[in-house]
C-alpha cells in the first residue's frame, strides 16, 4: 500500500513538526556490559557467549566499569548532570533476541540526564535538549528463514546468534524538538551527524552507522500550526545513515499531514524505514502488549559515581567538536561553504591529519573531498576505510609541489596506493609516473604537435592564444600525461610568437 503524501511546503503551511530522536551507541569496550565475553564484530555465530549473556539459570552479571566510564563521558560531553546514585532495571518482554526474556536497562534513574547539544544548521545554531542517556545492553541478531525478502513476514522460522547480546549500549534520548519548522529534517540530520562526531572524538565507539554501532530512531508528530500542542507520534526504527534520518523526517511529515488532512487520526505505531525506496511502512501498533513491567535489577548493585571520579572524567573530554571545527576553519582559511562540504563528507579528521603531515589545507581538501571521496563512494566504503592514509596524501601532494607529479599523474599514484603497491615514491618509480623534465624531449613533442596541427598553429600566430589548449592536449597525449602542462604552454607560445 502506498501512503498518500502532502508536498513538504504544504505540510509547513498547516502544521508544526515535533521530533524526538533516540540514538543507540554501541560502545567499543573489549567485553560485554555484564560479562567477560568479547565484542568483536563479525565473529562466527554463537562463539562470543557465556551463561550470563545466554541468560542461563544462576548466571550472575557484573557491570563493566569501562562501560560506565564511557557512559559518564558521553553524558558530560552532552552537558548532562551525572546521577549520584542510579540502578539498572529489567525491561521484561518475550522476544527471542533477548535470551533472558528481559533486557537489562535503566528506567527512571538514568546515569546522565538534562543536557543539550548545540547543532549547527546552515550557519545557524539550534539547541537540542537531551532528556537522558542511559546504559543498557544490545540484543542478539535474528535471521529470518523462509520469507522471500529475509524479513519477518512470511518467514517460517528464525535463527538467532547471541554474539551481540549483551554488548554495552548507551541510549541517548532528546526532549521533543520543537520550532524547527522547515529545518526539522536538517536539524535531525545535523544532530545525529554531530552526535557521531562527538562519539568519535570521545573514542567510546567505532560509531559506524553501516555496522549498526550507531542506530537512530526517529519520533515525529505534527500539530496544527501555532496550536502549541503535541500530536500523535510515529516511531521510525533503525534509520542508519545521516541522509536517511533527514529523509525519514521529511517522509513522515508528508505522510502525517496527509492523514490529518483527511480528517483521520495518526496511529501511534512503530514504522520501518526502507533505505532503497525512501519510505516507511507500518510495523506494530503500540498497544498494552508493550507493558514492560520494569523493576530494579536485583542482581546488580546501584552505580554511585563519586563526584571526584566524574570530575576526573570531565578532565578527559576532548575539545568540543563544534568549537574545534570553528578553530580549524580559521586555521585552514576555508570559506563557510568549503567547511560545510568537508564536514558533510566526514573528512575533517582526515584533512587535519593530512595538514599535520605537511600538505596545505586546500590541497588536503581537494584530494579528500573530490578524488578520494569519489573513490570511496564508488567502492561503497566509508572514506576512513578506503585504504589511503593521510600521510600518503601529504606525500603525494609533496611530489606535486616539488614538480615531479601533476594532478593527473597523482591520481594514478592513488590507483597504485589502493592496489597496495607501496609508498607514493615506490608507486611513482614502479609505474614510471614522474613528469618528464627533459626539455629536449618536451621541445620535440611540441614541434611535432605544431607540425601535425598547422591550422591551430596559425590561429595562435594570429594571437588566438586560447587555441593553445588543443596543442597542449596533443603534447600531453604524446608525453602520456607526464609533462608539466604549464611548461608545455610556455614552449608553444614561445615557438609561435
Amino acid at each position: 500500500m502506498t501512503d498518500t503524501l502532502v508536498a513538504f511546503d504544504d505540510v509547513l503551511a498547516s502544521y508544526d513538526p515535533a521530533m524526538g530522536l533516540e540514538v543507540h551507541v554501541e560502545l567499543n569496550t573489549v567485553t560485554k556490559m555484564f560479562c567477560g565475553c568479547p565484542t568483536e564484530f563479525g565473529a562466527e555465530p554463537n562463539t562470543q557467549v557465556c551463561p550470563t549473556c545466554l541468560g542461563l539459570p544462576g548466571a550472575m552479571p557484573v557491570v563493566n566499569g569501562k562501560a560506565v566510564e564511557s557512559a559518564i563521558r558521553i553524558g558530560l560531553a552532552l552537558n548532562c548532570d551525572i546521577a549520584e546514585w542510579c540502578r539498572f532495571a529489567r525491561k521484561n518482554y518475550f522476544y527471542p533476541d533477548m535470551p533472558k526474556n528481559f533486557q537489562t536497562s535503566q528506567y527512571d534513574e538514568p546515569i546522565a540526564f538534562e543536557g543539550f547539544m548545540d547543532v549547527d544548521v546552515d550557519g545557524e545554531t539550534f539547541r537540542v535538549e537531551i532528556e537522558r542517556a542511559h546504559m543498557e545492553e544490545d540484543t542478539g541478531k535474528a535471521t529470518h528463514v523462509g520469507g522471500a525478502t529475509g524479513r519477518i513476514h512470511g518467514a517460517d522460522h528464525s535463527l538467532i546468534d547471541y554474539n551481540r547480546a549483551g554488548i554495552p549500549l548507551i541510549e541517548i534520548v532528546t526532549k521533543p524538538i520543537l520550532g524547527a519548522g522547515a529545518k526539522a529534517p536538517d536539524v535531525a540530520r545535523a544532530y545525529v551527524s554531530q552526535l557521531r562526531d562527538l562519539i568519535v572524538a570521545l573514542g567510546v565507539s567505532e560509531a559506524r552507522m553501516d555496522q549498526g554501532n550507531l542506530r537512530a530512531d526517529v519520533n515525529l508528530s505534527l500539530s496544527p500550526k501555532g496550536s502549541g500542542t503535541l500530536g500523535t507520534r510515529s516511531e521510525t526504527k533503525n534509520v542508519n545513515s545521516f541522509r536517511s534520518v533527514e529523509r525519514a523526517v521529511r517522509y513522515e511529515m508528508s505522510r502525517h499531514a496527509a492523514v490529518l488532512d483527511a480528517g483521520e487520526k495518526v496511529l501511534q505505531e512503530t514504522r520501518h524505514w526502507h533505505e532503497d525506496t525512501g519510505v516507511t511502512t507500518s510495523g506494530r501498533e503500540k498497544s498494552d502488549a508493550e507493558d514492560y513491567r520494569y523493576f530494579p535489577e536485583p542482581d546488580l548493585v546501584p552505580v554511585a559515581p563519586s563526584r571526584e571520579w566524574v570530575e576526573e572524567l570531565r578532565g578527559t573530554l576532548p575539545e568540543n567538536p563544534v568549537a574545534k571545527r570553528a578553530r580549524l576553519q580559521g586555521d585552514w582559511g576555508y570559506t563557510d561553504l568549503e567547511m560545510r562540504d568537508v564536514v558533510a563528507a566526514g573528512v575533517v579528521g582526515l584533512i587535519e591529519e593530512t595538514v599535520a603531515a605537511g600538505a596545505s589545507p586546500q590541497a588536503a581538501r581537494k584530494w579528500w573531498l573530490s578524488e578520494l571521496g569519489r573513490r570511496a563512494n564508488d567502492a561503497g566504503v566509508d572514506i576512513t576505510d578506503l585504504g589511503v592514509a593521510p600521510a600518503q596524501v601529504a606525500a603525494v601532494q609533496a611530489l606535486v609541489d616539488g614538480g615531479s607529479l601533476n594532478d593527473k599523474l597523482a591520481r594514478q599514484v592513488f590507483d597504485g596506493l589502493l592496489a597496495g603497491e607501496g609508498t607514493p615514491e615506490e608507486v611513482v618509480a614502479a609505474r614510471g609516473l614522474a613528469i618528464v623534465s627533459d626539455e629536449g624531449a618536451l621541445s620535440a613533442a611540441v614541434d611535432g604537435a605544431i607540425a601535425a596541427n598547422p591550422d591551430v598553429a596559425d590561429k595562435i600566430r594570429d594571437g588566438k592564444v586560447a587555441a593553445a589548449g588543443a596543442l597542449i592536449g596533443a603534447v600531453m597525449k604524446e608525453m602520456r600525461g607526464q609533462a608539466d602542462a604549464g611548461r608545455v604552454r610556455e614552449l608553444i607560445l614561445e615557438k609561435l610568437s
Binding site: N46, D97, G146, V301, P302
Partner: protein
Amino acid sequence: MPEITRDEVAHLANLARIDLSDAELDHLAPQLSVILESVASISGVAGDDVPPTSHALPLTNVFRDDVVVPGLTPEQALSGAPEVEEQRFSVPRILGDEQ
C-alpha cells in the same frame, strides 16, 4: 490495600506467556490478592525514615575490569537448544515484530 482483579491476572499471565484456564484464574486471583496484601503490610511497619529498598546488601559500584573471560564453545552454548541450524538457535516463526 491493593486488590488484584481477575482481569489483571489474565493480563499478567498473557504478558508472561502463561496459559491459564478460567478455573485457574478464578483460583489464583484471590490468592494473589492475599499475597499482595501480606507484602503491603510491610509498608505499614516502615516509618518515613526508611527508604524503599531494592537490594539487601549496602553495596554500590561493583565493577568488572574490561578484560575478556573465556565463555562457552558454540557446541556448549547450543547443547540445550531444541533446534539448531547454521550454528544458531532455531526458533519458531516470530509473530509480532522486532523490538
